[in-house]
Amino acid sequence: MPEEILLMDKITKVYPNGFVANKDVTFSINKGEIHALMGENGAGKSTLMKILFGIEPFEEGRIVLKGKEVRFNGPLDAIANGVGMVHQHFMLVPSLTVAENVVLGMEPKKGGMFDFEEAVRLTEEACNKYNLKVDARAKVEDLPVGFKQKVEIVKALVRGAEILILDEPTAVLTPQETAELFVELKHLKEQGHTIVFISHKLHEIKELCDRITILRLGKSVGKANIADVTEADISRMMVGRDVVLKVEKTPAKPQETVLKVRDLRIVADTGKPIVNDISFSVRKGEILGMAGVEGNGQSQISEAITGLLSYQQGSISVNGVDLKGKKIREIRELGVSHVSEDRNTYGAALVSSVKDNILSDRYYKKEYNKGLLFDDKKINEMTDDLIKEFLIKCDDRDDQVKMLSGGNVQKVVVAREFSNKPALVIANQPTRGIDVGATEFIRKRLVELRDEGTAVLLISADLNEVLELSDSLIVMNEGKIAAYLPDASVITDMILGEYMLGVKTQTPEEIARVAYD
């Protein structure tokens, strides 16, 4: 009989604005298991974990840790009781070293001074014990994402964490880094640690976890041994219906070239070239996927095309018009739409209404103005139509966008960007961090746009997404195109992974094929 280490019993959490984030949620984990916590965005996973970690108070229910009822008054309390958390957004101080980050808040001292050498020793000891290879003296800002995550894990372990909560740890990792993380987590499990693993990715959960708890709309709707359920079962429990994980689409019929990028070079503020003399084309009626580990120049390319970032060399043209020196509105007037990866900065104005956000790219157009004033009737009609068409869940067109869930915010962005008859759509991480339903919807719309003759450049770190949606693919590695794969349907994620990590690179001739005239 496995020993129950933690029980969250009938937890109810109501936020001050009346939103019920958790309703009678029961969550139980056994010692030494890896337990998956799944659910769509807004299902209440994060809230539940914040409650466990003492960040959020709760109204009803109880938490029983190792047979004793507890109530944590903050993270420190949770840590002292052996609960550690690796947040989705790393809680690290970039300018400090790994060792300093690890001991922050429990600094070893010698003669009243901070004992850096002892901090290094402590860190290295933990790294060796748990087989996590990190340089204790390195500055955190110099580390790749995968290592930052290890620092977070070491931080929790050094503080005596027996239960480790990992909030979507693989969202930022390459397939190879993910594999490494899984080995490390299994190793931790063998040493008797208990792990709560929050993820959206079904196959990862199948591979790593022992048991699963599924939340939907703030309630726990299922609990199972991983071995007993299929991926389809899990996804049905999550959304309450079968999500079509495959995108239905016909083969693409690419026509003339819309976007032409030639010898593009972009240099970062540090002087490091981020994008290195790349050339490619996107044609009418095709989705060109741009795969790659984040930070290999994809964001800069999308910002250069949409006019947000200046570039040092090369040319970008849309339907034969050179974009050099063009203002953003001029670029948009050429039919370029942009779904930014950062929807909270570039995508949407969070404090503005749904209506204003949709209006923001077209407010100056004649059809929405009557003399000096807005044509409110027309604007409202247009907005309401789009809200209906794009299934935006809001009470009213005047709702502030920040009141909506992530998926609905993205739908607002997409409603604006997809509804102006774009010639070219730059979709950068269009479904990141949003729920399955909205993801499915946005992907479908992208395919529809393609069929209507739009050229789509899809940039995504989600391998499944680029593989499923793209007609052809380019893979970015260190600011260069590592491969051009004309037929995405025959590519597997393992092949993609090799190009992404620079294990393999195509010849310049093979890559040059993507520069259609």
Partner: protein, 337 residues
């Protein structure tokens, strides 16, 4: 003799070099105060008000303490031993009370910014305005005057003649015989470096300033650390205030900080909150301030001369911004080829 050579004659004297050190003192203290605050993530615009308040309270406390020890006898008639004792008490009282006043003002800002989550900029500006008027009011209550505390018999921190050094020509004139606060200011640079980089508190201050969420997630009490850093910020402002009214002059005059808090703030930003860089920048501003002073003896409009330190500050900030911008552009251009 041309104006230019007159200027050079004035600048190339040991007396001028000594005055640079003297004038740098309050700027350096203010800069260190600003540094502590910025390291914990708060822009302390109240440096100015904090220093001003400190300099007033230093004068009042030292005068009243001295008077109390003398027991109503005037200093001229009293026993020299008693006078010397009274002066010592006055110095200590002025130093302590002045410093505490500096801390109190910064803690007030900390309470508004950290405790009540008010905007630190607005609160800082409000505190400065309050200090400008408040000091005059308190001065009037204490001394019956509204401009200068000349009726208060306050003390001065001792001047230090360094044995050996003082007999060396030029160097002795420059570095020996300065006020204790001047030496103390440079010692404080080392102290700040030590606190920031060598103590656990410093580590926490840096962590809180850079990523408060990270610090909080490992149980660092962010508010407490910010209060600590702001208290240290106030401590240096307090020293700065004392150095204004209890060293080279022994009185308080209204608005005597004359923007030194803001110049210190600029020095800290120019030095990017590193102790050494901040000290160098403060020294530079001190140099221009001193230059403005000596040039008042020349046939140049006084208003122009008085503007020099502030213009120098502006130019310094502009040059700094352009230089760092150019560095980026150069790097880009190099790679763009």
């Amino acid at each position: 003799m041309s104006l230019l050579s007159q200027i050079f004659d004035l600048l190339l004297t040991p007396a001028f070099a000594a005055s640079v050190l003297r004038i740098t003192t309050p700027i350096l203290f203010a800069a260190l105060g600003g540094l502590m605050a910025r390291r914990c993530g708060i822009m302390n615009l109240a440096l100015e008000g904090s220093m001003l308040t400190a300099s007033l309270f230093a004068v009042i406390a030292s005068a009243f303490a001295k008077k109390a020890v003398l027991g109503g006898v005037s200093a001229a008639q009293a026993d020299p031993a008693l006078v010397s004792k009274a002066t010592t008490v006055g110095i200590i009282a002025g130093f302590i009370v002045g410093t505490l006043a500096g801390i109190a003002i910064c803690m007030f800002l900390a309470y508004m910014a950290v405790g009540l989550r008010a905007d630190a900029y607005l609160a800082g500006l409000a505190i400065n305005t309050m200090a400008t008027g408040g000091t005059v009011f308190i001065l009037y209550m204490a001394a019956g005057e509204k401009g200068i505390s000349s009726s208060l018999d306050s003390c001065s921190m001792p001047f230090i003649n360094i044995p050996g050094l003082k007999d060396i020509p030029v160097l002795g004139e420059i570095f020996s015989g300065q006020n204790l606060m001047t030496y103390f200011a440079w010692i404080c640079v080392a102290v700040v470096y030590f606190i920031i980089f060598k103590t656990a508190t410093g580590l926490r201050i840096r962590a809180v300033g850079e990523n408060p969420n990270a610090a909080e997630s490992v149980g660092v009490n962010v508010k407490k650390v910010q209060y600590q850093a702001m208290a240290l910020s106030g401590l240096f402002c307090g020293f700065g205030g004392v150095s204004l009214s209890m060293s080279y002059v022994q009185f308080f005059s209204r608005g005597m900080t004359a923007g030194k808090g803001f110049i210190g703030m600029s020095a800290m930003n120019l030095g990017n909150a590193s102790p050494v860089g901040t000290a160098i920048a403060a020294f530079l501003f001190g140099f221009f301030d001193a230059m403005g002073n000596v040039m008042q003896s020349l046939a140049i409009p006084v208003q122009f001369v008085q503007a020099i330190p502030y213009v120098a500050t502006l130019v310094g900030l502009v040059v700094f911004a352009i230089a760092s911008d150019n560095k980026v552009k150069k790097l880009k251009a190099k790679q763009g080829k």
